[in-house]
Symmetry: D2
Subunit: 340 residues, 4 copies
C-alpha cells in the first residue's frame, strides 16, 4: 500500500474547501499537496490555513505537477469534462463532484478517456456513505424487508438559491433529484427503464424565466419490476429535509431524521426539537467518509464504490426526467444517449 | 332540536355493522330503529345484539317506514345510486359510504334528486373527522404554516384484498386514493385542475387481469397554484400506513403516526413499537365522530361538513386519475363530466 | 348473566360526573339509575342531562333503594369508609375512587365488612386499564424482557391544585404516587418490603404550611428482589406527564407518550407536537374501560381485577412513604398496620 | 498562540488509545509526541500506528522530557494523584480521566500542587462536551425553561464489567453516577447540600462480595433550592442508555436519544430502530471535543471549562452517596472533607 496519496483540490468554493479541509486534517493516508482556485488570494489563503504545500490559480499547473497523485474537482459543472480529461491524460486519479457533466454524450467521452488512461474515478454521491443509507443497504442485503419493490425519496432545500445559481444549475432534476436517482439504483439494486416527471413553480416565480420549477415529482420504473417516486423541493422553509424509504415484500425501511440536536424542549408551546438546518449539518460525516473511501481505494488500487459510470447513469435519468417534464410523456431510458 | 333521530342501517357488512353499533351504543341523539341485510339471519342477529327495534331483508321496507328519519347506506357501491334515490324520494336523510357512486354522471343525477327532495346527505369520508386531520386543518387555518402549497399523501393497506374484491372495487384510484383526493381538497382549500397518474403491479400479479395495480402515484395541480402527490399501495406487509403532510410557505404539518400501543420494548433486537394493524384501529374514533356529526346535523337541520357534492368531486378526480393512468396523458378535470 | 346493572353515582364532581356519563352512554350492561350530590341542583341537573331515572341529595336514599345494584363512590376520601360500609351492609356492589381511605386501620375494617357482606368492590386505579399499561403487562407476561427487576415511574401534574385541595389531599404520596405504587406491584408482580421517600418544595411555598411537598421521590424494594423509583411532581408546567418503565433481565419496556394530537408542525421554530394537557385527555379510555370491567364483573359475579385489598396495600405503601419522608429513615412495610 | 502543543499519553488502555488517536489525527494544534504504557510492546505498537515521535514504558521519562508540554493521564485511578503531582512539579499541563482520585483528601492535596505549579488541569467529564448536553445548557441559559428546579439522570451500562473491574472501580457511585453528579451541577448551576443514596444487587450477585450494587438511586438537594435524582444501572441488556432531563419553572428539557442509526425497519414485528450499543458510540464526538477544548485552552493559556476542582466536588458527592448508602442516613455535603 502506498504510504500517502498526494492530493490537489481544484475549486475552493464551499465544497472544495471542505474536501481540502478533510484531506488536510481528517483523512489518514492523504496529503493536501496543492490547492487551486482562479480567484486572487483564495488559493494562497486556503493553502496557508490548511498547510498545503503548494497553491496556484492555474489548474494546468496541477495536471503537470509530478508530485500530485490525485485531483479533487470541485469547479463549476461546465468545466468538469475538460478537467477530467486533462487529469486522466496526465495519469491523475479523479474525485469529481456531482453531476459528472451536464451532457450524456460528453459523459460517454469522459468515461472513454478515464478507461483509456487507467485512472480511478469517483463521483461525489456522498449519500452512499451516509451511515443511515449504508445501514439501510446493509439491511436490504440482509433480507430484512424481503425483495425491494419501491423507493420513495424526498429532498427539500430550506429555500431557493439565488437566480444566478438556478440559471446555471441545470434545473431541479439535474441539481437536486440526481442524488435520489443514484440512491434509488443503489438501494433497489436495479436499473431504470422509464421516467415520468412533473413539477410546478409553487413559490419562486423568478424560476419561470429559466424554465425551472421549485417543486418536482419523478415516477420511475426499474428493470427488476420495482418502481420509485422522488420529490424535490426548494420550499422547505423549516429546514433541510432529506427522507428516504425502501419498501420490500416483507417490510419497509425509513431512512433519516430531521432532528438536529438530541434535545427536546417541552414548554407551554408543546414539545419541540430543532431541525437540521442545511446539508453540511446533515451530511457532515458522509463528506468525510466518501473522501476516506476515495483515498483508501487509491492506496489499494481498487475501483471506488461510485464510479463515473454511476455518474453517467444518474445523468441519463435526470435527462429523461427533464424531457418527460417538458413533453408530458413517459420517457424510456434507452432513448437517452447510449447506456453503458 | 329533535330529540332522537331514528336510523336504519342498510347493509350489515363490517362497516355497516360498526355504524349500527356506534348508533346503538355511542351516539347521543340517535336510535337504531332498524337494520337491513339481504343475507338470511344477519339482520335478525344484529338487531338482537344491538337492540334495534326492527329488522328486515328488504331495503324497501326501510324506505316506506314512517318511523325512520335517516338511512345509513353501507351496501355495495353499485347499489348506492338506487338506494339514495329511493331514500331521498321518501324524505329520508342519507349517510352514504364512499364512493358516492362509481360513475360521475350517476353522481350528478343523485345530487339532483337529493336537492329536489331537500334531504341532507353526508358521504363517509371519515378522515375529515380523524383528530389528527382536524388538528392539521385547524393549524392551517391558524396560519401556522403560511399559505398551503403542497399536499403529500400515502395510503397503504397491509396486503391486497382477494381477487373477488379487487374485481368490483373500481380500481385503486376509486377504492383507495379517493380518501386522499378528498383530504387534499380539504387541507389545501382548493379545487383540482389537472391529474396525472402512474402505477404498476409490484407484487399481486392477479391484478393484471382486472387492469388494476397494487401501487400507484397521482400528481395533482390545484386552482390555487398548489400541487399534490398521492401514493396508494396494497403492499405494506408491516401494517396499515396512512401518512399525510401539508406544506406551506412557512412550514409543514406532518399528520399521523403508525404507532399502535404507546409502548416501546427495548431489547437486544433494538427499540420496537407495534404498528397500527388495519383501518379499524386507525380510524376507530373517526367513524364514531363522523356519525355523531351526521346525527348532530340532522338534529339541527344543518348541512353536514362532507356532502354528496364532495363525494362527486372526489369521484371526478378518481376518474381523471384512472383515465390518465390508461392513456399516459395529463387529464384536465373539466373534461370529466360536469363540475358542480 | 344479569341483563342490566342498575347503578347509582355518589358525588358529582368532575370524576363522579364522568363515571355517570360513561355509565349512561358508553357502558353496555349498565343503567344509570340514580345520581346523588349534596349541592342543591347538581344531582337534578345531571339526572336530566344523562337521563338518570332518579336523583337525590341524600346518599342514604341510595343505600336503601332496592332498585340499585351497585354504587360508584366519588365523594371526598374522608367519607369513603362510611359510604362503603353502608353500601356493603345494604348488599350494594361498590366501585370506589382511590384512595380507598386515608387510614390503614380503617381500610382493614372496610375490607372486613365487604367480605362479610359478600359484595364485590373495585378501586379506581384506572391505569391498570390504560391500553399502554395493559400492553406492557402482556409483554412482561410474554417474557419479552425476561424477569422484571426495576420499575421507574414519573407522574407530573401541570401545576399545583389550590391550597384548599392540597390541605385535604393527604399529601403527594397519598394523592399522586399511590397510582405508581399500585402500577409497580401490578407490573413487577411482587409485594413491597421497604420504602424510602424524599421530597422538597421546589416552587409552591404555600405547601410548607401543610407539611406537603411539590416534588417527591420514593425508592422501594420488593420481596422478589426487584426495586423501583417513583417521582411525583406538581411542577410540569408544560403538560400532564405520566411515564412508566419496567426493566427486566433481557430488556425494558417504556410506557406512554406525551404526544396529544398525532400532528407535528415543522417551521422556523423546529418540529413541535402538542403535549397531553391533563389527566382526562391521558386516561379518557382508561376511565371508560375500568367501568366496563366493573359492570362486566358484576354481571358475571366475578371478582374485579383491582380490589379493596389492592387499595389497602397501595395505602400502606403511601403511609410508609410519608413516614419515611418525615423521619428520614427507611420504613419496613410490615411495620405499617396489618398486611392482608 | 503557541503553534503546537506536544502531548504525551500515559496509559494505553481503551480510553488512553482513543485520546492518543484523537491527538494524532483529529485535533488541530496538537502533536502526539510520546505514548507510555507499562506493558511490553503496547507503547511501541501504538507509537508506530499513530506516528508518535517517542514511546516509553516508564512514565518518569515523560515527566522529565522537556519536549513535552502536556500529559494525558489515562492510567488506573489509584495512580492519578502520583502522576498529577509529578506532572505538575515538572510544569506539564494535565488532562486526567475521571475520577480525579478515589479520595477527597488526596484530591485537596492534588489541587494544591496544581495551583502551586501554575499548570492547567482538565478532568475528563466528557458529557459537558456532548452536543446534546451543550445545547441543553445553552437553552437553560437562554431562559427557555425558566429557573432550573430539578435534574433527572439515568446512566445504564449494557451489562456489568467483570468482577476484577468492579473490585477496583470504587463502586457504582464513583464509577458511574459521578458523571451525572457533575452534569447536575453543570445544568442546575448550583452546588450540592445533601445526598441520600439507595441501591441493590438486582442481577449480579457477585457484587455483594465487594459491597457494591448493580442498580442505585441518589437523591440530591442543592443550595439553589433545586433537587435531583440519579439512577445508575449495570443491567441495561438492551444497550447503553444515557438520559438526562432538566426541569425548570416553565418547562423541561429532555436530553439524548438511544437511537443509533437513523434508520427504522418496519416489518411484521413492528417498527424497530437499533440502540446505541456502548459509550464509544454515544460519546464519540464528546471525547474528541473535550480534547480539542483542552488543547485550545493550552494554546490560549486559559483555564479549561472542567477543572480539578470540578473533579474534586464530584468526588465529594460520590463519597457522600457511598456514605449515605452504607449508613441509611442523609449526608450533608460539608461533612465530607473540605469544600473548595
Amino acid at each position: 500500500m502506498k504510504k500517502q496519496i498526494r492530493c490537489a483540490v481544484l475549486g475552493l468554493g464551499r465544497l472544495g474547501y471542505w474536501h481540502a479541509e478533510n484531506l488536510a486534517t481528517k483523512i489518514k493516508g492523504a496529503t493536501l499537496q496543492c490547492v487551486a482556485d482562479p480567484f486572487a488570494g483564495q488559493a494562497e489563503k486556503v493553502a496557508r490555513e490548511l498547510d498545503a504545500k503548494q497553491w496556484t490559480r492555474d489548474p494546468n499547473e496541477v495536471f503537470e505537477n509530478s508530485n500530485i497523485d490525485a485531483v479533487i474537482i470541485a469547479t463549476p459543472t461546465s468545466t468538469h469534462a475538460d478537467m477530467i480529461q486533462k487529469a486522466a491524460k496526465n495519469g491523475k486519479h479523479i474525485f469529481v463532484e456531482k453531476p459528472l457533466t451536464n451532457d450524456v454524450k460528453e459523459a460517454d467521452e469522459v468515461i472513454r478517456i478515464i478507461q483509456e488512461n487507467q485512472v480511478l474515478c469517483q463521483v461525489g454521491f456522498m449519500r452512499r456513505f451516509d451511515p443511515a443509507y449504508v445501514e439501510a443497504k446493509r439491511r436490504v442485503l440482509a433480507g430484512d424487508i424481503g425483495t425491494p419493490i419501491y423507493f420513495k425519496g424526498v429532498s427539500r432545500d430550506p429555500g431557493s438559491p439565488p437566480a444566478e445559481f438556478i440559471k446555471n444549475s441545470g434545473g431541479i432534476f439535474f441539481d437536486m433529484s440526481i442524488h435520489d436517482y443514484d440512491v434509488a439504483r443503489f438501494l433497489l439494486g436495479a436499473e431504470v427503464t422509464t421516467v415520468s416527471a412533473h413539477g410546478n413553480v409553487l413559490v419562486n416565480s423568478f424560476m419561470e424565466e429559466f424554465h425551472d420549477v421549485d417543486q418536482s415529482l419523478t415516477y420511475i420504473t426499474f428493470d427488476s419490476g420495482a418502481a420509485a417516486d422522488v420529490e424535490a423541493s426548494r420550499n422547505a422553509f423549516y429546514g433541510y429535509d432529506i427522507r428516504g424509504e425502501i419498501m420490500g415484500t416483507e417490510g419497509t425501511i425509513v431512512i433519516g431524521s430531521l432532528r438536529y440536536h438530541d434535545v427536546q424542549v417541552l414548554n407551554k408551546n408543546g414539545s419541540t426539537h430543532d431541525i437540521v438546518p442545511a446539508f453540511p449539518e446533515r451530511f457532515n460525516n458522509a463528506y468525510q467518509l466518501e473522501m476516506a473511501h476515495f483515498i483508501d481505494c487509491l492506496r489499494k488500487n481498487e475501483a471506488p464504490a461510485v464510479t463515473a459510470i454511476d455518474g453517467k447513469i444518474a445523468l441519463e435519468i435526470a435527462a429523461a426526467a427533464k424531457k418527460s417534464f417538458e413533453t408530458g410523456q413517459k420517457v424510456h431510458l434507452h432513448s437517452i444517449g447510449s447506456m453503458v
